[in-house]
Symmetry: C2
Subunit: 222 residues, 2 copies
Amino acid sequence: MTRSSAPHSTTAAPTAAVRRRGRPRKEDSLAQETRQQLLRAGLEMLTEKGYSAAGLDEILRHAGVPKGSFYHYFSSKEAYGQALIDDYGRYFVRKLDRWLLNAGREPLQRIADFIDDACHGMQRHEFRKGCLVGNLGQEIMALPESFRQQLSDVFNDWQQRLAACLKEAQTQQQLASAVDCEQLAAFFWTGWEGAVLRARLEKSNEPLRVFAAGFFQLISRS
Amino acid sequence: MTRSSAPHSTTAAPTAAVRRRGRPRKEDSLAQETRQQLLRAGLEMLTEKGYSAAGLDEILRHAGVPKGSFYHYFSSKEAYGQALIDDYGRYFVRKLDRWLLNAGREPLQRIADFIDDACHGMQRHEFRKGCLVGNLGQEIMALPESFRQQLSDVFNDWQQRLAACLKEAQTQQQLASAVDCEQLAAFFWTGWEGAVLRARLEKSNEPLRVFAAGFFQLISRS
């Protein structure tokens, strides 16, 4: 990834450490909390509506943060968007790893587990929420150009994690050795984003299931 | 489809016929031309930016139509959006039929021809333009609820045309008789919209090719 802002991580810590000499810890932790509040509100609104439809005013209202203080936490709306993509990318990686690195299950079963979890998640949110990266990818022509590489990097990161799981399936002879795991992982994420789109449109898990069935059929015959 | 407005068709003709008694033909044809201009400008902007990012003011400027006269042609922004979806749906059906009903080619080759044409089209527009139905599907939570069924109907229409082509492949024994053509067609459109999204993000036909390769691999092994 190309960006430097890193909420939910230790990137903010050095700044806090430098400031600590002259400032009480409480203020730093409050600032950090407000920043998190802004990110949470943004993620909630953007996974639902996308970037263009979610006005900054609406996000600030939702977060309960006064407009005047926004630029205290983010230098611009673009920097805020970058922090949101980064935050979502890392949230999703934690989720993916929970399933794809689960040594208690066979590699291909782990992929099925991830899909099941995604279906339950979409249903739980009544198909209102999509994938932030898919939403912003679709809107790319209306977004700051810096988002393009960042979104692409997030996709590639997810892809590599899936490819690693597929390679483990190969090692365990669940998958033919001739299969190109990188290509298969690219195929999965490409189609999966379309399935998420269609599931939201139809308020149904059926498109996710149809795509998953095709994917496993392709795998089983490889 | 559930809507009544039908640009590029004969729906406007009865009104014109009634009016003709008291009005010159020229005025009707000018009105029709302005309506088309608004639809063309809208399609151009919405396939690129989506609905939320493309403001009505910008579309009107692009069409060279004064704001005051918009409601002469469309009763609301929602009605305009419905006319755009309808117009795009029919434009795309003409394109699909050109490839999928081409009796000079074998059925599976027709699908490959459609994919080739889509790749060339995306490249020609430098990956700026996506699928209007995909773009609006992604934005569904920020759009009028009436768009949901309409977009879903358009997808189903395309799906049926692809399923018919796949059934022809079955009849010609290009495809195993056990294959569920409806399911396979649903799989294709679900993944294809994801591939279009990714192709625009990466400014490359690679995602379209990766998805098409997986689809044909799935078919060849069915």
